[in-house]
């Protein structure tokens, strides 16, 4: 039995549909360096995780500041549950993930993007297997990407959120079969590419749903994961 992450399976799928070679995949997907914008994205996730209901001009985390100065159509929904671990086994492959939010039948993910969210970007989200796996691993029927479109400022730690986009997708009849098929392709590739077998990353500290304490899931029992 091998384990991998939703992120890695999706990266594999994207790479397998491209003309890029394996070395590119190794450098950019398996061992990517964390860019400044990725750090900012993590900070925004942390800020949202710690947020409560209300109206905010600014959210802050890890030294970063996100200013809200746009004209937003809809509120940002945090979800009834946040940072929910889930997993599913497809033959010899266990795929693990962590949903940013779950509310009833809806699973959601927050995205941070510097630059415009144009048609090609939205097509990328719609093509993605991230949402497919999250729906397959939970009993949810709706998936929502909430994409924060950001603009840099003269201060590298300050971003202005120009727009917030909502991109929805739904469970469809062949969803489970499609996920199984991709898992099978990934498993096949992993037999000759050991780099595709993920080792567990550092434990993630996340907010408890019960109170505000931060806890880890180092010893997460299997039943709690999925």
């Amino acid at each position: 039995m091998i384990t991998t992450s939703v992120t890695l399976v999706e990266s594999f799928r994207w790479w397998s549909e491209s003309d890029l070679d394996w070395d590119w995949f190794l450098a950019n997907s398996l061992s990517p360096s964390e860019t400044w914008n990725m750090k900012a994205g993590k900070a925004l996730h942390k800020a949202l995780e710690g947020a409560r209901e209300g109206e905010f001009d600014v959210l802050r985390a890890d030294g970063f500041q996100f200013s809200f100065e746009g004209d937003y159509d809809l509120p940002v929904r945090l979800g009834a549950f946040q940072e929910v671990p889930c997993q599913k086994t497809y033959g010899d492959l266990t795929v693990r993930g962590r949903c940013d939010k779950i509310t009833g039948m809806l699973v959601g993910d927050f995205k941070f993007r510097v630059g415009s969210v144009d048609g090609d970007k939205v097509e990328g989200y719609l093509d993605s297997y991230q949402w497919r796996f999250y729906l397959d691993m939970t009993s949810a029927k709706i998936f929502e990407y909430t994409v924060f479109e950001a603009v840099e400022t003269s201060d590298p730690y300050i971003f202005v959120i120009r727009q917030i986009h909502s991109v929805k997708q739904y469970r469809y009849p062949d969803l489970e079969a499609d996920c199984s098929k991709l898992a099978g392709r990934y498993m096949e590739a992993a037999r000759t590419r050991p780099e595709l077998v993920k080792t567990d990353a550092e434990p993630v500290r996340r907010k408890s749903v019960v109170d505000d304490t931060l806890i880890t899931d180092d010893d997460l029992p299997a039943w709690a994961k999925g």
Binding site: S18, D19, A51, E53, G54, E55, F56, D57, F68, G70, D71, Y72, D73, P75, V76, R77, L78, G79, A80, F81, V84, P85, C86, I102, G104, M105, S116, V117, D118, G119, V122, E123, L126, D127, M137, T138, K141, I142, I161, I164, H165, S166, V167, Q169, Y170, R171, Y172, P173, S208, V209, V210, D211, T213, I215, D219, P221, W223, A224, K225, G226
Partner: protein, 297 residues
């Protein structure tokens, strides 16, 4: 303006939808669209004359033709068909540049112009909803090769394409298979779709036998989305009941007593129990498969 953050989604009942349909030219998108309930076709492409089951349509040559339509003008119709969305956005873009040349750049929209396009197009869609209309956006299909895969996309200028994808509640591709035309709402490798009603691939019927085909499809989509809302409320209520039960636990035995029941529950309920147990100071022992309080000497 500040961002508003709310805890969770509020389930809502919908009476109207925006449906996207795309296909290669000549497949019969317009004919299919005319089987919606009481349709009015806005003919931006000037191709409505080709449709065999043509109903009311308005030839559009400038955005003024659209902007001038009042709620009274549209009262006899239930469904507004945009044929095609790409050409509609081209005409709206021309109007934006004509009204303010600073929003243009060499005949195309500038960055600010795209912002105005987004606002005006989504504003027009909202106006149609206010008037009580379903909207069907027809689009030509564009094919592009990426690696070994041919990707089928909407043939619409880049920035506005995002608005179409975000605004549609459901989206389907029409294609020909043998002698039949098919309608597929599911996303596939290389093609896009949104399938809230979880349709299998539909065979497009003879419109003489089923003159209201798309009207029935649209109703099914609305019913499915509203059913999802009902399920959403039920699931949220169930989660709140769990939150109350777990919140009332006051002992290690209490957490362990709930374990068998929680193991069959959804990931978020399992996480709720685990978080609560950890906050209570308990650790989960994988060998005994129970929570226990670590005792330090």
């Amino acid at each position: 303006m500040p961002i508003k953050i709310v805890a969770a989604n509020e389930p809502i009942h919908i009476d109207l939808i925006t449906l996207g349909i795309y296909a290669l030219p000549g497949i019969g998108k317009t004919s299919i669209a005319f089987t919606a309930n009481r349709p009015l076709l806005l003919d931006f492409d000037r191709g409505a004359y080709r449709s065999k089951n043509r109903k009311d349509s308005v030839a559009v040559s400038s955005w003024d033709d659209v902007a001038g339509m009042t709620q009274e003008d549209l009262a006899p119709y239930s469904t507004i068909i945009v044929d095609t969305a790409g050409r509609c956005l081209d005409i709206l873009s021309a109007d934006i540049i004509a009204k303010n040349p600073k929003h243009g750049n060499g005949g195309s929209l500038s960055l600010q112009g795209f912002g105005v396009l987004k606002g005006r197009f989504s504003g027009w869609l909202k106006q149609m909803r206010t008037y009580g209309k379903d909207v069907v956006l027809l689009a030509h299909m564009d094919e592009k090769s990426e690696g070994d895969i041919v990707k089928e996309r909407l043939d619409i200028q880049g920035g506005s394409k995002a608005e179409i994808y975000k605004s549609v509640d459901a989206m389907a591709k029409i294609y020909v298979e043998g002698k039949l035309r098919k309608m597929d709402f599911s996303p596939r490798e290389g093609s896009l779709g949104k399938n809230p009603a979880q349709f299998e691939v539909l065979t497009i019927p003879d419109f003489i036998k089923e003159p209201n085909f798309l009207g029935v499809v649209i109703k099914s989509i609305k019913d499915s989305i509203n059913q999802l809302s009902i399920e959403q409320i039920a699931k949220q209520d169930a989660a709140e009941k769990w939150r109350t039960r777990i919140g009332a636990i006051e002992s290690e035995d209490g957490f362990n007593a709930l374990l068998p029941e929680v193991k069959g529950e959804t990931p978020e309920i399992r996480k709720m129990l685990l978080d609560a147990a950890q906050s209570y100071g308990l650790t989960f022992d994988k060998k005994s498969a129970k929570f226990f309080q670590e005792v330090t000497a």
